[in-house]
């Protein structure tokens, strides 16, 4: 092998290895930095809802509340985003006129180009006041149902998990749609033509060919969306109100903080290393969570893609 070739090959291979090592390094560094804070933790890290870290000599913090709010926000977002994304993916691949499909797809992709802080500001300053009457109505009518009961930031219904979930859903649309669309497009033409030849209506074609073929891709894409939702930071930090002295109470009109928004909201505590360690520990849990979700999502997708 010529020297030029050897150098070039080693450089590119090195870059590949670097990326692999990088993921390990992220986990390792977060773990190493989290350990001192975890040792100084006077509460149970996994089961406590408390979070007081400003005094490095007397810290007690736990992630239970963060975990619950993170999952609640993501679930609300997925409930809104999943059906709509499915509809959009079907629209772009099966319904939209062929010539316009690309332009329409571009419009959906534009949603992904809007910075998340703008989504957050729009959510709290524009969307939340606009849906306030609706939120109040649900709140009042279904107050007997715990999930929809008045939350821990009442009487405000603006900075709630519900609002955050709606905004997050909008941010997930392009992510879930683009992958789902990719899989739907790959539905074998003979299947579609076969169904058409049997006299199926367009909906029946979709139900009998596109959906069975694309189901795994759709589920995988939704899981990628979930991964994104779990880690979304600034939009949620802007929207969610943090209740004083109260915790998550299983209502979507609760306020609170997710892993990511908690870290972002308290960046001022990063001035001292031990306090920062508490947030890094929370970040480590978030990293593991998103890693697992993404891992599962990729496994589901590559099963279908066969590559």
């Amino acid at each position: 092998m010529r020297p030029g070739d050897r150098i070039f090959k080693n450089m590119t291979t090195g870059a590949g290895i670097f990326v692999v090592v990088l993921i390990g390094l992220i986990g390792l560094f977060l773990l190493v930095q989290a350990i001192p804070a975890l040792k100084a933790d006077k509460a149970s890290f996994l089961l406590s809802r408390a979070w007081s870290t400003s005094d490095p000599t007397n810290m007690s913090f736990g992630i239970l509340d963060l975990l619950e709010v993170t999952i609640a926000t993501s679930v609300v977002a997925l409930i809104f985003a999943m059906p709509v994304s499915l509809g959009i993916a079907l629209f772009l691949t099966q319904y939209a006129p062929k010539r316009l499909a690309r332009a329409f797809a571009y419009v959906i992709d534009l949603l992904a180009a809007v910075p998340s802080i703008i989504f957050g500001l729009w959510g709290i300053l524009v969307l939340a006041p606009a849906i306030e009457p609706f939120s109040n109505w649900i709140n009042k009518t279904f107050s007997w149902f715990p999930l929809l009961a008045p939350g821990n930031v009442a009487p405000s219904v603006r900075g709630t998990i519900f609002t955050a979930g709606l905004v997050l859903a909008v941010m997930l649309l392009p992510i879930i749609t683009s992958l789902t669309r990719e899989v739907f497009e790959r539905t074998p033409t003979p299947h579609i033509e076969g169904a058409l030849a049997l006299g199926a209506t367009r909906w029946e074609v979709i139900r009998t060919t596109v959906l069975p073929f694309g189901k795994a891709g759709y589920i995988g894409a939704s899981m990628l969306g979930l991964g994104r939702a779990l880690g979304e930071t600034i939009a949620l930090a802007v929207i969610l109100l943090i209740p004083v002295g109260r915790f998550f109470d299983w209502s979507i009109f609760d306020g609170g903080a997710t892993f990511a928004s908690k870290i972002a909201a308290n960046y001022s505590e990063f001035n001292n290393v031990t306090s920062a360690g508490a947030y890094i520990a929370a970040g480590l849990v978030l990293f593991l969570l998103t890693f697992l979700v993404n891992f599962a999502a990729r496994a589901v997708i590559s099963d279908k893609k066969g590559d």
Partner: protein, 307 residues
């Protein structure tokens, strides 16, 4: 001879039944829902863009908005501009690009030219996928743990750029990989047949052929990282003055300025903070749009000439 057989209709009456009402209704409902979900997705996009433009346009048309910083203006005083934040945003993106583009490109070259089918390439592809799912706040915490706690270096714009690299690399790898893959093997083989070494083939034949697509992908990735806010919060402080030094001192950027206004200023419509935050949002959207436009133009210009 004279029988007028119409070729456009079947010779005998169709053997099929008329589509029943139930199936028709189902088909109609599905069609409506699918169209509806696309429209649902367009609503927030238009609404967000309208909000940004309508609220942001007030401050934008003046030269001091683009030519001054906020250093000499009280936080609730009308006037000043966002030059310091624009410079910060561009500078951080530039530094990030200088590191992320070569790295991402090398990984892509490895995956396409050298690693094809090997185990390491599969692991690398997988890790790139995982990296693209790492939340931006986790990337920020990793750089914090590495740069600030472990190396003991101060918070700086360079640390921000490093965190952005983590977010940009997977995007660059993905898009470049796709572009390199569609370069026809004939070109490579023709080059080898002329005795050109592999590395030179890649540098002189493969890369130029794929260049327009690669540049497009890189610019889009740059536009994406410019809107990131989470790493800024953790890794650099806000300054209302222009700062060109990425290694030292605090540096503003558009998202950070927006967050700073949000925290320190009143957000009632028409107030100074309100105008400023939406002005900054519009500025950010304009910059992102310009970069996307530039991406299209550049990739047109460097596209390989077709016969």
């Amino acid at each position: 001879m004279t029988t007028a057989t119409s070729l456009s209709a079947p010779a005998s009456t169709p053997a099929f039944q008329q589509v029943s009402l139930k199936r028709k209704v189902k088909n109609g409902v599905a069609t409506t829902l699918v169209w509806l979900s696309f429209l649902i997705a367009v609503v927030p996009l238009v609404w967000v863009l309208y909000t940004v433009i309508a609220n942001g346009i007030k401050r934008i048309p003046y030269s001091n908005w683009w030519g001054q910083d906020l250093g000499s203006v009280l936080s609730d005083e009308v006037g000043g501009g966002v030059l310091h934040a624009i410079i910060g945003t561009l500078l951080q993106a530039l530094v990030c690009g200088i590191i992320a583009v070569p790295l991402g490109l090398l990984v892509a070259i490895y995956l396409v030219e050298y690693g094809r089918g090997t185990k390491l390439a599969r692991v690398t592809t997988f890790m790139v996928d995982i990296l693209s799912g790492v939340p931006s706040i986790v990337a920020a915490l990793f750089i914090y743990a590495l740069w600030i706690t472990t190396f003991g270096l101060p918070r700086s714009a360079f640390a921000v750029s490093l965190a952005l690299v983590l977010l940009m690399v997977p995007v660059v790898v993905r898009s470049s990989e796709e572009m390199l893959r569609i370069v026809p093997d004939d070109l490579r083989e023709a080059s080898y047949a002329l005795g050109v070494p592999k590395w030179k083939t890649i540098v002189k034949i493969v890369l130029p052929t794929a260049l327009s697509g690669i540049i497009g992908g890189v610019m889009m990735a740059l536009a994406r990282v410019m809107g990131e806010t989470a790493p800024l919060l953790v890794l650099v402080g806000y300054s209302s003055f222009v700062n060109f030094n990425v290694f030292k001192g605090e540096m503003a950027s558009l998202p950070l300025l927006m967050n700073n206004e949000r925290v320190t200023n009143s957000m009632t419509p028409g107030s100074v903070g309100f105008d400023r935050i939406w002005g900054a949002a519009l500025t950010l959207v304009i910059i992102i749009a310009l970069i996307n436009l530039l991406a299209t133009v550049i990739s047109r210009l460097v596209a390989p000439k077709k016969k």
